[in-house]
Structure formats: structure tokens, C-alpha cells
Amino acid sequence: MSALRGVRAFVIRLVGAGRAALGSRRADDDLRAELEAHLEMDIAEHVRRGMSPDEARRAALIAAGGVTLAVEAVRERRGLPQIEQWATDLRYAMRTLRNKPAYTIAMILTLALGIGANSAMFTIVNAVVFRPLPYPDADRIVAISLGRPGEDRHVVDDRNYFAWLESAKSVDLAATSYTTAVFALPDGAVDVPGARATRDYFAVFGATPILGRTFNDDELRQPGIPAIILGERLWRASFNADPAIVGKSASVDGHAATIVGVMPAWFQDRGAEWWRPYRIEPPTGRATFFYTPIARLRSGYTMDAARAELTTITERVREDRIGAEQGLRPILMTLHERRYGNRRKPLLVLFAAVGVLLAIACANLANLTLARAAGRQRELSLRLVLGAGRWRVVRGLLCESVLLSLGGALAGLLVARGAVAYAIRLSPASVGNMQGIHIDSAVLLFTLLMAVATSVAFGLVPAIVASRGDVHAALATSAPRSAGSAAQLVVRRLLVVAQLATALVLLTGAGLVARTFWRVAAIDPGFRPSGAFLFGIRLPSSRYTEARPDVFYRTLIERVRGLPGVRSAALTDGPPLAYGVRMRYGTHDVNGDTIPRIDVVAAGRDYFETIGATLLHGRTFTDADRAGALPVAVVDAALARRMFGTTDVLGRTLPYLDHPLRIVGVARDVLHDDLEQGAAPTAYLPIGQSGVETFETVIVRATTPAESLEPTIIAIVRSMDPALAPPKFDTMEHVVDQALAPRQFTFFLLGAFAGLAALLAVIGLYGMLADLVLQRTREIGIRVALGADPRRVTRLVLGQGVTLAVMGTAIGFGVAMFGVRVMRTMVFGTSVYDPFTFAAVAGLLIGVSVIAAWIPARRASRVDPVRALRAE
């Protein structure tokens, strides 16, 4: 017979099985009618040959060989018995679960939380940590910087960059810097984020334009913005996806830039929507430029080979100007590592935590299932006695677990959807580009695997334990609920101890993260964020040349100062903790020792009052500190101490690039870049002397809220230059919150997971003890009847709970001591072996456990002997 016939038969049987499952009786009725006809014809034939009707009937029945059996045999042939058995098991499981709605709902909700949290975390981790960058051969794209052990400068100076560009054979080198520019569009001026691109920038990413071409050498040499490449989104949104756009002109920062190409939609680099040529000046030896290079490994070269080659080249580049620059070596890592490397650890810790949470949930479910199995021992024993295979019994119980898990997974997906949406809202930009993260097929597959794994995890052990029970003992006992076998009790106790132990580990982790968060939140940044807000304004560099930016900002600040409710306003190139470009330099202190890094902040009049920083000595800047006047500086206490060993440094000289500065003031330390690294030695220069550029930030301190002033300020900017894009406002408090956000993200999530874990573990303990009391009601009744002190009964149960809690805590303590090492890089201001945290979480867990044990213990002491004994 051809295989096709077999398939046809199989499909028909599948349909038959389906019909049978749906309870269709038509096929059976048909068959019965057919057999009936057969029998009648047979009887008629016998009668025709001369038998009496009775004899004929008997003979026909004998020949038939059992009508019921024939029906059964045909039925088997009609469907697929194996599948039908599964269907039967599933149907039975469904009915069992429907009959216990409270149990079912509790199980599904627990699973939904556990699986949902895991799916949500997986969605995020998958997108941020595992998914490769969206470029061809993304693992061959490397980010390069200079540094030495313990210090990564994130940038490369122009001498090294050019030396590599000229001689490196192992990489295609490119550089970029991210910026914004004002596009004059038909519907107004818009500030659009973009980037500069060197010649090989697009080639490094493996991207080719969908229209036009990339920059040519001529465009890369010209000043201004001779050419521009649009991102697909900008092209679509603001240029109507014009297919003939190439060759047309766009007004970018006031320059007439020729549009030479459009990049495909998949090509995205840090939100840049357009690219302009990156003009790279050969190093002159005077001012130093810095680049953030990216490179693609040429074929045949590994990362190690490239690192070795670049190191050799760097060693040839003599850095003799400042000692601090010596000893720098190229740092190479994949672009993915550079962008997401520091986010991996907290996310993986969170992922592990949520996995542990699910394990604890499973232990709880297993405990519940065991308790239920103990109650069903008689039923299961009966099935075994009646000849059901052990596997069949286990399978039946597993069917229930699988159904519960699938239900939990479905509900879990809903939980995950909500959780991911919430996490995206909660997550700081620094956790990674979370926009566009959604539940995809990988997540669905993961969730399905989770469901299967959990059903086995919480279903298999109880099922096997239950199927092993002593059949005769179970049938012989008269108790409707047996206490379960000794094996079951041991398993349940072990589960509770394991739960408590894992919960303690999670709690310890959460405790450390919480302590870190509070430490960081309590850091004094050196300025007062409340009541201050800021906004940046980009002036088109084509029109704002020479002194024009200075005039513009000066006028703007004057007008803002005059607004009602404004107490002060100041100009700066880099407000504290906000995104900005920060200049740094290295020099020597008075003893000739190297100071590798001094941060430079350009600040206008009233800067310190406006951000709320304190001046220790001397004065702040005035409008008189302008170009041409005596070059002055305000230093912070950190720089004063580092350079002179004292803060009493008024009138002394600060070395700065090629000209010394007179120190006129000393300020308290302000955390400019990072809350946790401490204050870097900082020099404040009057912005009138350091030069007002086309992109500066205005900080305003006001008694009225920022929102009420925003429209007025926008109107002022409009009135001064209608071609400018309206500024974007941000409060200083929000800026500080953003700096705290990554910590907060980890803290909230890990705290929530650990709290849930502890809750589940304690519920597990409570459930086990409550069940124990319920099962031993009779025994307790007898004890009380014989004169046992109720307090001793309480102590008996309480003692059990406390023993388990202490055991769990002790084991968890040991595991935590070992496990917290992975968190070493995640804590701040506290040791991972922080005794306070350890003591607090252990005390918390034991305390809650005692409460959980006390409830059933109290119930046990109140057992009424008469009722307990009469109950059965």
C-alpha cells in the first residue's frame, strides 16, 4: 500500500478520534445498525434452513463472537487509541481542576506571576544583552579607545588616530561624534539629532545608502556642512520620501547642504537621523582633538591581532608633552561590549533572580500538589489496584500540571506584556535602547519552555511520590485525608527549607542593592537641584560666527533674569550631571607630580548661585571677566588640595594649556559627571574668556515652577531669532533622578523579586504547617484530652516552623556568603559582606517565618478534643 493511503487512513482516524472526543455517537449508532442487520440476516438464514427461531438466534450469536467486543474493536480502528488516552487524561485533569477552583486559581496565579516575570526579564535581557547589533557581521565591529589598567578614556587623541589611520592593516578605521543640528523645514525649525561620519564610517557598519552615495574626499575636506546624508526616517517624515531627493539642498544649521544620500531604515546608530562629513584635521601638535573611533576588523585579522598591531603603532607615537599621556594603550572591544557591557551584569543578576523566584514558586506549587496528592492517595491507590499502570497514574497527574502550567503561561504572557511596558517606562536611557522591545517569537518559545519546565518541576516529583504510596495501607485506612507517607513529609520539609534558603539569598542581594541605592541617593552632589531648571539652545554656526553667540546668549540671559519669579540665570557649557561635552586636560602639581585629569567647566556670571553651589573663598565670575581682561579661574576644593595641598589658594596661578590663570575663588566640590566616582578636580573658567560657542546651556533658578516660565522663554527666543528651534527644558531634579535611574531600576526590580520570593517561601512554610495541623487534629485532640498543655501543643508546631526557618536561613546564609561575590561591581559605599544587610535580611526572614508558623500553632492549641475525636 502506498504511503499516501496510510496518511489518508491516519487523517480519517484523527477525525474519528476528534468526533469521539466531542462525544459524537453517530458512528456507533451506524455500526450497531449494521451489526443488527448482519445478525438478523444470519438468523433468517438459519431459520430458512429449518432451525427454530430460538436456536437460530443462538447460533447466530455464537458466530458473531461477541457484539460488544466487535463494537470495541471497530471503535479502536475508527480513532487513535493512544491519542484518545491522552485526551481522556487531559479531559479528566480538566474536570478535576474545575472541581477545585480555589486550588486551580491559586496555582495559575502563582505560575502567571512566576512565568510572566521570567518572560518579561527574558524579553529585556534578550533585546539588550543577547541580540546582536543590527549590522552585518556585527561581531567584527570594534570600539577603540585609549587607556591603561583601571582607566578607560573612551577617546583617542588625534596623533594616535592618524598613526593608526595611516599604518594599521588590521582594521578599517572610522570616527563619529553625535550632535544635533537645526533643520529649516517648511513647518518650522527643528533640532534633529545626527552624527558626523568619516570616510569609512558607513563601511565599518556595513551599510550602503538606498539612494545616492556616501561622502567623497572633497566633501570631507570642505569646511561647514557641504553635504548631508539623511536617515530613512527623516527622509520619510520631513522630505516626503522624495525619490529624487539626491542633489537637492537642505538648510542645516544655516548651511546649504547638498543631500547626497539616504541610508536604509535598518541602519541606526544611537538615534542619529542624519550624517554630515567629519572633517579630520591632521594633528598640529598644538591643540589636541579627540575621537571615538570605531573599526571593522579586516578579514583574516582577529581582535587580538588588531590590538597587537595598534599597540605597536601607539608605542611609536611619542607622547612626550605630559607624563600623564604616557603608558596609554589601545583598548579594543566589540561595539556590543562597549555599548552594553556595563549593563549586562545587573540585567543578568536580575534575570537570575527572577529564575530563582520561579524556582521558589515551583517549590510552593510542588508542596501544594504533594498536599493534594496525600489527600488523593485513596483514589490513586484504587486506580493502581484496578490495574492502571504506574506511568498512567503519573501521566494523569502530570496532565494536571501541564494544564496548570499552560494556563499559567498564557496568563503569564499578559503579565509579561504589562511588565515589559512598565519596565520600559521605568528604565533609564542607560539600560539600553529599550524602545521597540516587544514580545516576539523567541519570547513565546521561551515562555512555552518555561511552562513545560515548571510543570515537570512541580508536577513530576509529587506524581512519582504519590504513585509509590503503599496501596493497601491507603485503601485500608478509614481517614479521608491521610497525613501522607513519610517520604512525602520529608520531601515537603526539604522543599520548604530550600525555599527559605533561596529566598534568603535573593533577599541578601536585594538588601545590598537597596543599601547601595540609599547610599547613592544620599550623596550630596554639591549643588541644590530643587528650584533650578535648564535648557540648551543651538545656534546655527553659519550665521553665528565670532562674537555673535556671545551677544545672543548675553541678551537672552539678561531678558530671562528680568522675568518675574526668576532669581538668577547663568550660562555654562556643561551643567552638572547633564549630557554635555566636557573638556579635560592634564598637568603637574606644585611638586612636579602628574595630575592626569582636570575637568574644565566654562561658567558665566551667577553660575554658582544658580546651581546652588557654595563658594569657600574669593569671588565668582562677573561680566568683567571677558576676553582681554586678566585670565582668571575658580577652582574647586579637590583641585586646590590636589595641586597646592590647601584650599587657601587665592591669587595663586593655575597652569592651563599654554597660559596660566589667576585663581580668584575656591568652590565646594560639585559632582559634575557622576554621583559615585566622587568629585574630579575641576577648574571653572569664565565663559567670556574661554569663548562662547554656538551650543551652550542656560540654567535658571526660579521661585515659580519651570512650566510656567517655559512659554515666556520660548517666546523670547523666538523674538530674538525666529529661525531657531524651540529649546527643550529639563529640571535639575530630573537630571539628578536620571543619574540615579539605573540604580533605581535594579533596586526596584530586585527588591520586588526578593520580596515576592520571601512571601512565597513563607506561604510555603505556612501551608505546610497548616496542613500538618489539619492532618494531626485527631492526634492533637487525643493529646489534649489526655491532659497535654495547649501551650506545649503550640510550642510543638511553632518549634517545627522555627527549626525549618532557621535551617533555611542558615543554608541560605552560606550560599549568600558565596554568591554575593558576583555583585561586587554592583554595590557602592558598602561591602558585599555588609554585616548589617546580612543580619537584617536573616532577622526579617526568621521573623516573618515565626509569624507564619504562629498562626497554625495557635490553631493547634485551640483544638477542641471532643470535636476532634468525634469528627471521624
Binding site: 467486543l69 466487535a70 471497530v74 480502528r77 484496578l386
Partner: protein, 152 residues
């Protein structure tokens, strides 16, 4: 307490030789039986050969009901074969599922309602193929029976 047991859930294997059990009142009665293929003192019918017999019978006699098929096969075998329902009807169902025969309700010679089976085109081809294969096999086996011990 047995009434709350769902009977099909007892895990009892109901499709193969094995213990069968039915609830009677509050008792559980267990006995053992099996689906026999043919009556013991006659020849067992092999599944494959039975379908060949059915196909051939339908080819020669045209549409027939189950009773007619059984009778004709028994007669042709000289009553050496006896087909009980449990053997015949699963075989008919299998052939129908494979698309070799097709059953339709109709009226018998005595105006009794009966299901008549007829050969389909696929069944014709299948019969031809099986007949050929069977003959070849028979000839092959026959030639082995024809072997005589050779004297050296």
C-alpha cells in the same frame, strides 16, 4: 465512594487484551477476556489475507453487505474460515479508511436496511497489485517446496 470516580479515568486499558472491569453497585468486579481473531479450532485469518479476500469477493460479486461478504468468504473457504464481527468489521473499516472500498446504506434483497460495500477505483488497482504480489510469492514459495534432496 466509587460513584465519584470517572470511569474512563481509572487508567484501565480498554483497547487491548487485558483486564476489564465494570462497576456493579458498590462492588468492583474484574474479569479478563480478549478479542479473538477467529474461532480456535479453525484457521486464523491474517489481516492482510482477509482484506484480499474482501476485495476479491466484492470484485466478483459487486456491492455486498457485511453479512454477504462474511457468508461468501466462509463458503468459498469450504467453511474452514469463520469470521466473527470483531474480525470482519474492523477490516472493512480499515479498507474504507484507506479508500479501497466504500460503504453506502441501501435495501437488501428482503427489503432490509443494510450497508453495502463496493470496490472503488483505488480498490481495483490495489486488488490487481495484491493479486500479482500474492501469485509471485506463492510461486516463489512453491519453487522452494519443489526442491528435492540431491543425492551425492
Amino acid at each position: 465512594m466509587y460513584h465519584n470516580l470517572a470511569w474512563d479515568s481509572l487508567g484501565v486499558k480498554s483497547h487491548a487484551p487485558g483486564p476489564y472491569c465494570f462497576p456493579i453497585g458498590n462492588m468492583v468486579v474484574i474479569w479478563v477476556t480478549h478479542t479473538g481473531v477467529a474461532v480456535a479450532d479453525r484457521i486464523d485469518v491474517q489481516q492482510g489475507t482477509l482484506s484480499l479476500m474482501v476485495l476479491r469477493t466484492l470484485e466478483v460479486l459487486g456491492p455486498l453487505h457485511g453479512y454477504g461478504i462474511a457468508r461468501r468468504i466462509e463458503e468459498t473457504s469450504g467453511d474452514r474460515l469463520a469470521l466473527n464481527y470483531g474480525t470482519l468489521y474492523p477490516a472493512l473499516l480499515k479498507l474504507e479508511q484507506e479508500g479501497f472500498i466504500h460503504g453506502e446504506w441501501g435495501a437488501s434483497e428482503n427489503n432490509r436496511r443494510a450497508k453495502f460495500y463496493h470496490l472503488t477505483a483505488a480498490g481495483q488497482k490495489q486488488l490487481a497489485r495484491e493479486t500479482r504480489e500474492w501469485r509471485e510469492t506463492a510461486q516463489l514459495i512453491e519453487s522452494f517446496f519443489a526442491l528435492r534432496p540431491e543425492r551425492a
